[in-house]
Symmetry: C2
Subunit: 621 residues, 2 copies
């Protein structure tokens, strides 16, 4: 087979990682979009490479072409313009501190019982009176060290045990991994290596993949990385990716894309933290149902066809090499279980993190990510739903939206003269606006009359910041000179409309769930808000735009990326993981589209804050 | 690398299988002993290829050479003389009916619960009101079909479940395999294939490998095959094989040798019985501790060094490809657990078969194979030991000994004129003498005064059958003209001595075990005799030579290959397998060499029947 080299020249810019050029060798006939993914570069391609969105433009021989339509038939040098990369670049390591999520009050709610543990044993040497088998000798010693563990060993793990024990003077470190409800001996190493035990927690999102390196002994978070999900090259949303995965090789490609994200994050963090890759024995993953199917190469096609049935919502623990994760080859990867197509392992993980299922009091989890998911209940019962909120509060689909990473506007103040002051993550010049920034911005615009309750921009205010944009009216948040991207940062009426629909969908889903069980919002003792807003969500502002109900502020608790937090807790506590495997069974899924009250609630919520101001007394006042 | 072709010309003879010549291609530098194994031919080589025993003679260019010392450096044609093959040939398929063992009274002692079961399901199709996941839909339907099963599924088994269900109109056959105490979904196939479910039970012996094909639905034994363990090329006993396995590649070679036995038996039987290899989902194996270590590629070196510690006595269930067994690649292989270096899974399997651990009455299992193992006890307690009996009763190490297969003398009558009448297995001319034949022969020789109580041949009887052999006196059982091998079949004083030591070791071990727990032989309500004698052991004769204690004959029950029987029962009943995994823990191993009474007992037993005739009242009379 003929193979050709493709050299991709990458543009400059603060998001861009080393190096500025990447080489890849691909077989003749490969399209440039696929070649780029192989080189670790994900081009914008929301249409999934169908040639219709026109977003994967690259420059070849001074001509602009679509990468998805260009075939490699010789060695090529391809220049990638900034706009073809913009939303999918791997973010910088410096973004770490803004993405690692909130450390929860409940972080230690479950006993410390790491799902992989290393135990140093000094064994009694065999004698004529004590010639029990080598493995039984280990079991015997373990039973004194670890309580009530069901421990088993595969044949592979004991093949050279005889030699290992005798060469190490019967002093060995046993690595135990939690699997199928018991512990399995993963490795037996000579000497004391118990100090080196690391794990990774992952939140596998449709838009982003977040990974966190944990020292399993000290329970410390050593570092966090976020990357845009490389599957974006095959479609921006889950539907497009399922369609792509149904094509020949599509499933394999989507699988490999996200595994490459995982491996890059692992490699990056072990390097940064001086950890030996071989000392990484455990990975936990939480993600939505489609992400889990694609990660595990399970045909996802029935997820998108009525009646929207996943193949499975529970995924057995596997060895890392089975899905291509590069760390200790004896290591285990464990998945948080999900409930249905619409309530995945990310939400169950979030429930473990916030504790709704462990409390006698009525509580609500609202996770605002690429979609919005909600679970209401207590230790007795739970009901859950998904709201078609869209990814606006993650910064997606908005003219200047971005994730809550360095450079994102996250706080906004507008004075009476309509001067704007922005605070950005990392205290740099603004590059865009993240979810919490938009919430502040909307509130300030409402306060200063820049927009009315329906979200229309008031043209009559006579500010240079209010102007006609390409298609609709817009408000300039930061002029080119103040911005970090060499152009104006704006919010326009389409953005506002998008945000309004998102907040309306979430608010009305909260009310519809309560209606379903005939409860009043005042009966809810705790509302956990999770999602990708950033770490500085202002609850007051979220209420004032009508995203959240107007109740006692102390009911609210912002918990950041709760999917990641639950994965982290499951890594450090087999009890947390066991709990996850109980609670998913107790959640009843409610289809809002079949709830008569929902559509009226939704339409009523398409105002700032709401058509019924009586529901927002503190906003009115 | 240079490779050369070696053509082996095999001698004629009833043991020889097609074809009479075998070709193999091997790299330059391979020795002929190894080349022969590759060609499926196992030459005698009790020294393990060290060049000292001189038993692997072959003819090359009209010269006799040792195969182990001859290197392949060009294409060769090698003639194999009969005597270099004699004890290790693969036996003929016709030997089957004489080797399948006894069908036990207890065959159905445990509930029918096959360790692999195939269940046809007609699933309700998903609807908006019932859109539970595909896998949960299967679990739900299974729970109505099979009681209280803990069922799990690996990710691999559900990858294409979505398509399988929808292409088959939701009518599928689920294959469940017993593993780690629960059932695992091994496969989900479209349509109803539940009728095709086959399994193999194996007894992996040091000398022979016996396999049996079972229809898992009808519980019928479809066929049995016996083959000489190919590891014999690397040493005739377990010690020689452990030594060999400690050399570079030795473990891999011994492993491959026995796996090739297993695969050949499987292939042979599925062909003969018209069974599809892909419908073979389950294999159970029982064997002694060394055989299990070698089969599973576990370093066995510590087994032969004081204090004789195996690596493990319990072996987790594996997928067939993990050890190279060729059948359904999703199939499982399960191993009967053992107790210690000297009491292996073959004995635990035998206990499941005979039921010592399930009875309130005191009972004894005596398994006379390549070694002799005994377990005494009841449902409350068990003690076990190994007697250094040697393989004489399996026909090994005797001048005309052979396994209990076609052509073996198994009954002997000698009249007052010392005329000998022999009955052979298969009613053909005699080829040799098997264990039960030797027992009869000794009894008749004692009766007619041909030997005295010490085993010396009486030269004074003046029969042409009594004569001086090469080194010692011998008695002709069948003259050349009557025999099927073109030469006289004899028993000599060395053979008699060998048999005397074997029977003495077993008898004295029985007494020593009883002494240990202060029980009298009369308190033993049942004695199960297992082993490779053949199917026609005459208990009366065994008592009369002093092999077994002189008690009520109805106490004895001959159960044949009980290791195979237990493996078969474990294939057809997960409960039997569970029982095996309980009982091995209840057996205490007794080292006879540290029992003060044992050596005296042994020396006293080196007479026919015994020095103390008071112990054999019925023989004296």
């Amino acid at each position: 087979m003929h193979e050709f080299n493709v050299k991709f020249i990458l543009p400059g810019g603060f998001f861009i990682f080393k190096p500025s050029a990447k080489n890849v060798t691909v077989p003749k006939g490969t399209d440039l979009l696929t070649a780029a993914v192989k080189a670790g570069i994900v081009l914008n391609s929301p249409c999934g490479g169908e040639g219709v969105c026109g977003k994967c433009k690259v420059t070849l021989d001074e001509k602009r072409v679509l990468a998805c339509e260009t075939i490699v038939d010789k060695d090529l040098v391809v220049k990638i313009p900034k706009e073809s990369l913009e939303i999918h670049e791997k973010t910088k390591a410096e973004a770490e501190e803004f993405t690692k999520g909130v450390v929860l009050k409940r972080e230690d709610a479950y006993p410390y019982s790491p799902i992989v543990r290393k135990i140093f044993l000094k064994l009694a040497k065999p004698t004529a009176d004590d010639n029990t088998s080598d493995l039984d000798r280990i079991y015997r010693e373990l039973s004194g060290k670890v309580d009530s563990l069901h421990v088993s060993a595969s044949v592979a793990s004991v093949k050279f045990l005889s030699e290992t024990l005798r060469d190490s003077d019967f002093q060995v470190t046993v690595t135990l991994g939690y699997k199928d409800g018991g512990f399995e001996i993963m490795a037996i190493e000579p000497g004391d290596t118990a100090g080196a035990n690391y794990g990774f927690a992952f939140d596998i999102g449709t838009t982003t993949v977040v990974g966190q390196l944990i020292n399993m002994n000290t329970r410390k978070i050593l570092g966090t990385r976020i990357a845009f999900n490389r599957q974006a090259a095959y479609g921006s949303d889950v539907i497009a990716r399922i369609v792509f995965a149904s094509e020949p090789d599509g499933l394999e490609k989507t699988h490999k894309a996200v595994v490459s994200n995982i491996n890059e994050i692992i490699e990056d963090l072990v390097d940064a933290c001086n950890v030996n890759l071989g000392d990484v024995y455990s990975v936990t993953c939480a993600g939505n149902m489609t992400m889990m199917h694609l990660l595990l190469r399970i045909d996802p096609s029935s997820i998108r066809k009525p009646p929207y049935t996943p193949t499975t919502t529970v995924f057995s623990t596997m060895h890392l090499p089975e899905i291509g994760i590069d760390a200790n080859p004896k290591g285990l990867v464990t998945f948080l279980p999900g409930v249905s197509t619409y309530i995945g392992g990310d939400i169950v993980s979030g429930l473990v993190a916030c504790g709704v299922p462990d409390s006698g009091e009525l509580a609500l989890l609202v996770d605002i990510g690429t979609n919005g998911e909600l679970v209401l209940g207590n230790s007795e019962w739970m009901i859950g739903t998904a709201a078609s909120a869209g990814p606006a509060f993650e910064g997606s689909g908005l003219s200047c939206g971005m994730k809550a990473v360095k450079g994102a506007v996250q706080k906004v103040d507008i004075d009476a003269e309509l001067n704007v002051r922005c605070a950005t993550i990392g205290d740099v010049k603004p590059h865009g606006i993240c979810g919490s920034g938009y919430i502040d911005l909307l509130r300030q615009m409402l306060k200063r009359g820049i927009i009315d309750k329906s979200g229309k921009i008031n043209k009559g205010l006579g500010s240079k910041r209010i102007r006609q944009g390409e298609a609709v009216m817009e408000f300039v948040v930061a002029f080119k000179a103040e911005s970090g991207i060499g152009k104006d940062i704006v919010i326009n009426e389409d953005d506002i409309d998008n945000l309004k629909r998102s907040k309306g969908a979430i608010y009305s889903a909260i009310i519809a769930l309560l209606t379903k069980v005939e409860k009043d919002i005042k009966e809810v003792k705790k509302i956990y808000i999770a999602g990708g807003f950033g770490n500085y969500l202002n609850i007051e502002n979220a209420i004032s735009i009508g995203l959240l109900p107007d109740i006692e502020r102390t009911v609210y608790e912002f918990i950041g990326n709760s999917s990641l937090a639950g994965a982290r807790m499951s890594l450090l506590s087999a009890d947390a993981l066991k709990r996850a495997n109980e609670i998913y069974k107790n959640i009843t899924y409610i289809d809002l589209s079949s709830e008569p009250s929902y559509m009226n609630e939704y339409i009523a919520a398409l105002f700032f804050p709401h058509t019924d101001l009586g529901r927002f007394p503190s906003v009115r006042s």
